[in-house]
């Protein structure tokens, strides 16, 4: 289980938008249709490969309910990436994005990569938030955007991996201080930092191209 980097993620957003389902789909490749309220925070992990490097993702799936908000805030500081999720069939979850974003920006380190996710894209008939609106919001606030379906697994891998690519790119650019674990990034046990920066710079550009 050797890895080059370890990234910590958090998943945030209103209750019932499918945060736990996204995580389950990503880590276990399955979908659970019954809504099981998350209490506090749940943990999940998976290994991915970017630019030929093994990257371990440790993901904390937070409770969306207001009553847990103060608990979930404790997780912002130590995370390198956040998936901010709303439900395309519920406009209110989209309207709350601003609050979530403020909360995240306030408590996280400034370099945290935030990916905006419009989940439940399989429920096209019940759509209340247009894709363009999500794109516009993301553009306005400098986020990456994607519509996913935890049920059909559409774009789920991409959402997690593209976020990792963005973080990886930032590392190559030297934006992140990889030696400070409080940023939610850790270098693998046997991975020499120097060669990673050298060999990784090209890959970062590649990844960047893929994202945009």
């Amino acid at each position: 289980m050797a890895y080059a980097y370890l990234f910590k993620y958090i998943i945030i957003g209103d209750t019932g938008v499918g945060k736990s389902c996204l995580l389950l789909q990503f880590t276990d490749k399955r979908f659970q249709p019954v809504h099981d309220l998350t209490i506090g925070v749940e943990f999940g992990a998976r290994m991915i490969t970017i630019d030929g490097k093994q990257i371990k993702l440790q993901i904390w799936d937070t409770a969306g309910q207001e009553s847990f908000r103060s608990i979930t805030r404790s997780y912002y500081r130590g995370a390198a990436g956040a998936l901010l999720v709303y439900d395309i069939t519920r406009r209110d979850t989209f309207n709350h994005l601003t609050t979530w974003l403020e909360d995240a920006r306030q408590h996280s380190n400034s370099n945290m990569v935030i990916m905006l996710i419009g989940n439940k894209s399989d429920l096209e008939s019940r759509r209340e938030v247009k894709k363009e609106e999500g794109e516009a919001f993301a553009r306005e606030h400098g986020l990456i955007f994607m519509e996913t379906s935890a049920k059909t697994a559409s774009n789920v891998e991409e959402a997690f991996i593209n976020t990792a690519k963005e973080i990886y790119e930032k590392i190559q650019e030297g934006v992140f201080d990889i030696n400070n674990e409080a940023n939610g990034i850790k270098i693998g046990p046997q991975h020499a930092a120097t060669n990673s920066t050298l060999s990784g710079s090209q890959g970062g550009q590649q990844a960047g191209g893929g994202c945009c």
Binding site: V41, F43, G44, Q58, S70, I71, G78
Partner: protein
């Protein structure tokens, strides 16, 4: 508040008033002084009084002290005094103080020891005070927030008492403080930073703080874990020397336990973070029994517990099994087994190690298999299982150790059919090995030893070898025992019932009854065997019907259970003991109600629910060792069905039977249809698969065909090109051969073709070399011929030219000489004429003599010239002869050329023939492809299943062979 007043009122006399007054005065000063120095002195004085006048300081000064914390943030000294004071009034336990104030500069308070009131009472009072002041402090949650911000102060005099104060608050009012910290932004994260403090005192007290903080609060536990607690704690443990480390290691381990116990999310994180691997070195304790300090024992104990937390039977099965897997993969299990077999390990560590190994292998086949393969380093090596079982049936071993071994054995057999089979096999007559001690022998020994604990343990262990395993239940019926010399052997089953009826200790009988129940449960053959012994049923009915004392109730209940199983799993094969007859027997001898009541005794026993809680056999004392966890499950399962079975009258049963039958019929019909559907489904699946493979095949074939077609086209083109070129370039054929080689899809056919082509090519090259030989020969001959021809015909060859020019030169010389000769002749004629003229004209005088010399002179000259002419003539003749020779040579060369030319023509014809042959082969190949195509088409049309190319190939090859035969025939 009533209590408060009571406490205050209880101390009206003595020196307290002065104390109280002093405190009051100091408080006033703290509140009113404008100078920092004054306030500081006052707080310092309060601190000094805070132990002796805890109540007064607490009631009067707290608000002021909190105020100081808010307003005098800039002065770390006063903050330190205030925090110390607050700590003194809030902190309760003497013990704790001693822990906290371990530094020698602060004297340990001896106050409590001087109090005359009994210890309990005093402690209670103190605790009440502590809780009271804690509540007062917490009234405003802001105070805790304030304290949290103060902890960010780096100054030792602030941070250290701050940490201690917060710890004390948590101890008194855990959940409330936890709640406040949880909602304060970054509250937990800040406290985590304490672990990174370079001052060990603060780091160590930070550990204690986090221990309190994480107690029973999953949310906080998760945040602490999120803040890299595992990494830091494991690092500290390593730095401090792992199990050889001091109390700090213990504290770290306690905190780790807090974080992981019953917290599946954190356990998952721990596993995913590869921290299990980091536990392995903890257990590399080696064989030396030099260092087993009390601290080391404690540390190891906690380490083992940490391992157990990860694989506890209470965890979700998936989580446990993945941890078990990685424990095996990283060598942790192997390391634990080394401790298990090592010498000089303290008994309690050994016991806990056995328990830990038990849970690491429980239900995990790989780990169980590994455990079965572990050998003790004895001579000869014995399996670890055998060595452990020896301890289990050994009276002199500690009780907890024997329980641990039993647990280990149970875990080894849990969901392990292979292991169960191996254990039972050691009892079977065919496999018994008389030379070494086997597990089966030890169990039998234990079963029939005089020690009731051994009886019980062996019975339960054997029952676990039969759990949910029909094969082994039947196998064990074959086991025969040689009781004593001269007597016939007795079956194991018989021996068990014999001992049962002999009336031994309750523990022994309970053990045997549990074994029997497990054995015959769900195994009609065993039931028949049991009933076959005529004494068994009367014994059971006797036991149940008798009115015995409290002690015997459990035995009675178990007997009822056993009899119930005999009814429920009866296949009516014994005429005397059919279901019906046994029921009648119960009704007559015992009475249904009585029977059910007695049956109920089992589950109502006080120890039953205790055993039902968890799989590990733990008993406060050896006498209470009565129930096995797995057996409680069995009771739960059987009690209801047996009660029902006994209550049912025969008519009801008949009815039920009928209903059951019809139901069964329905069921069978349904299952029939289900099967049909399943079959059809499978068929459909299969067909679908076939279709998909066929279509895939088809695609492949088509691709192949197009490829081949293009290749054929290519070959045709090449061939045409070659045909054109052939006259000049016979080598072209070989490239065609290569082309054919590329077309290697109908492999068999192709290889044959290729071989032939190869042969042809070989022939061709042979011919080619011959041809080229011939060609060179021809060329040399030709050139020879040309030389000859040029000599004759005056063509370009330089040699010819030379000869020609020579000839010309010679001829011109001949001509010039001829002309010279004619000139000379004319000259002579003239001279002769002149001489005649002179002779005639003048007398023979001096003149005539001169003339005469002149004539002779001329005559000699003439003779010389004539001789020269003769010589030249000779020369000409020689040259002409040479010419003739050359002409002759030329003629002969020309004839050879003709011969060669015919030969060449013949060869060319041969080449042409081989070309043609190859052409035919290629045509044949095209035909084959065409055929393949048509066959494929046909197959596709028919939708028939032809899965491989080979068949095609075979067909085509056959055809090809036939063709070839025909050809050969034709050739013949």
């Amino acid at each position: 508040m009533n209590f408060f007043r009571g406490v205050m009122g209880g101390q009206p006399s003595g020196p307290q008033p002065t104390g109280g007054e002093t405190v009051q005065r100091l408080c006033d000063r703290v509140a009113s002084s404008t100078l920092l120095e004054d306030r500081r002195d006052a707080v310092r004085a309060l601190k000094a009084l805070s132990k002796k006048y805890r109540l007064e300081v607490g009631t009067q000064a707290m608000a002021h002290l909190i105020h100081i914390l808010q307003t005098d943030r800039s002065d770390s000294e006063i903050l330190g005094y205030a925090l110390d004071t607050l700590y003194n009034i809030i902190c309760n336990e003497e013990e704790e103080e001693q822990d906290m104030l371990a530094s020698p500069s602060i004297p340990v308070s001896g106050k409590r020891r001087n109090l005359p009131v009994p210890e309990d009472n005093a402690q209670k009072q103190e605790e009440d005070l502590g809780v009271l002041f804690t509540e007062k402090f917490l009234k405003d949650p802001e105070s805790v927030m304030l304290l949290l911000t103060l902890l960010e102060e780096f100054d030792f005099h602030v941070r250290w008492p701050g940490v201690k104060l917060l710890t004390a608050l948590l101890k008194n009012q855990c959940s409330q403080v936890q709640g406040v910290i949880l909602v304060s932004p970054m509250g937990v994260s800040r406290l985590m930073d304490l672990l990174a403090d370079s001052r060990e005192v603060i780091r160590n007290d930070g550990l204690l703080l986090l221990q309190q903080l994480s107690k029973g609060n999953a949310a906080i536990q998760k945040i602490v874990a999120f803040e890299n607690a595992f990494e830091r704690l494991l690092d500290i443990i390593t730095e401090e020397g792992s199990s050889d480390g001091g109390i700090v290691v213990e504290d770290c381990l306690l905190l780790l336990l807090n974080l992981l116990k019953n917290n599946s999310s954190n356990q998952n994180f721990f596993k995913e973070g590869s921290y299990i691997q980091r536990m392995k070195p903890w257990f590399e304790v080696g064989d030396d029994n030099s260092g087993w300090s009390a601290q080391k024992v404690t540390n190891l104990h906690l380490m083992l517990q940490l391992v157990r937390v990860m694989v506890s039977p209470g965890n979700s099965p998936g989580a446990s099994s993945s941890c078990q897997k990685s424990m095996y993969q990283c060598g942790l299990l192997q390391q634990l087994c080394t401790i298990l077999m090592a010498t000089g390990v303290p008994a309690d560590i050994l016991t806990e190690t056995i328990n830990t190994v038990s849970e690491v292998i429980r239900g995990s086949q790989i780990n169980q298999d590994y455990f079965a393969s572990v050998n003790a380093p004895s001579n000869p090596p014995r399996p670890a299982i055998v060595v452990l079982l020896m301890s289990m049936v050994n009276e002199r071993q500690p009780f907890v150790l024997r329980c641990a071994v039993l647990y280990c054995f149970q875990c080894f057999l849990y969901k392990n059919q292979k292991g169960q089979g191996e254990i039972v096999a050691t009892l079977l007559p065919s496999t018994i090995d008389a030379n070494s001690i086997s597990a089966g022998q030890l169990l039998c020994g234990g079963l029939f030893s005089a020690d009731s604990l051994s009886n019980w343990c062996a019975a339960v262990a054997l029952a676990h070898a039969l759990q949910d395993n029909l094969t082994q239940k039947e196998q064990l019926l074959r086991v025969q025992l040689a009781t004593s010399l001269g007597k016939p052997p007795v079956s194991l089953l018989q021996q068990c019932t014999n001992i049962l009826s002999q009336g031994s200790k309750v523990q022994t009988r309970v053990g045997l009854l549990m074994l029997l129940c497990t054995w015959i449960n769900n195994c009609p053959i065993a039931v028949t065997h049991f009933l076959h012994n005529q004494e068994n049923v009367p014994f059971l009915t006797g036991q149940i019907s008798e009115n015995l004392g409290e002690d015997e109730r459990l035995v009675q209940g178990l007997c009822a259970l056993l009899l119930g199983i005999c009814i429920y799993y009866n296949d009516n094969s014994l005429e005397n003991y059919t279901k019906e007859k046994l029921k009648q027997l119960i009704e007559k001898r015992i009475g249904k109600e009585n029977f059910v009541e007695k049956l109920g005794f089992v589950a109502k026993h006080e120890l039953y629910s205790r055993a039902a809680q968890k799989p590990q056999p733990t008993f406060p004392s050896p006498e209470q060792m009565l129930f096995d966890h797995e057996f409680t499950k069995l009771v739960k399962e059987l009690e209801g069905v047996i009660t029902k079975a006994v209550h049912k009258s025969s008519e009801e049963e008949k009815k039920e039977e009928e209903v059951k039958k019809t139901l069964e019929q329905h069921d069978s019909i349904v299952t029939q249809y289900k099967d049909l559907i399943r079959d059809q489904d499978a068929q459909i699946q299969e067909l679908k698969q076939q279709v998909s493979t066929l279509s895939l095949n088809n695609e492949q074939m088509q691709a192949q065909i197009t490829q081949q077609q293009s290749q054929i086209q290519q070959h045709k083109d090449q061939y045409n090109l070659l045909k054109l070129k052939l006259g000049k370039d016979p080598q072209g054929l070989s490239s065609q051969g290569d082309g054919a080689q590329v077309n290697g899809l109908n492999t068999e056919e192709m290889s044959q073709l290729r071989e032939e082509v190869e042969e042809l090519r070989r022939q061709q090259t042979l011919l080619n070399t011959q041809l080229s030989d011939k060609d060179t020969l021809i060329n040399t001959l030709k050139s020879g011929a040309v030389v000859v021809q040029t000599v004759e015909a005056g063509t370009e060859s330089s040699a010819n030219r030379e000869l020609l020019s020579e000839l010309e030169v010679l001829m011109s010389r001949v001509q010039s000489q001829g002309s010279e000769i004619s000139q000379l002749q004319a000259e002579r004629q003239e001279l002769i004429r002149r001489a005649e003229a002179t002779a005639s004209a003048a007398p023979p005088s001096s003149g005539s003599s001169a003339d005469a010399t002149e004539v002779s002179d001329l005559e000699s000259r003439l003779a010389a010239q004539t001789a020269e002419t003769e010589r030249l003539k000779e020369e000409c003749r020689g040259l002409r002869e040479g010419c003739a020779g050359l002409e002759q040579q030329l003629a002969s060369a020309q004839s050879t050329v003709a011969v060669e030319q015919t030969e060449k023509a013949k060869l060319q014809q041969e080449v042409q023939e081989s070309k043609k042959e190859q052409d035919d082969l290629l045509m044949l190949l095209a035909d084959q492809d065409q055929k393949i195509l048509s066959l494929k088409q046909k197959l596709k049309d028919l939708g028939e299943s032809i899965d491989e190319d080979e068949e095609d190939d075979l067909d085509s090859r056959d055809q090809f062979d036939e063709d070839e035969d025909e050809e050969e025939d034709n050739d013949d």
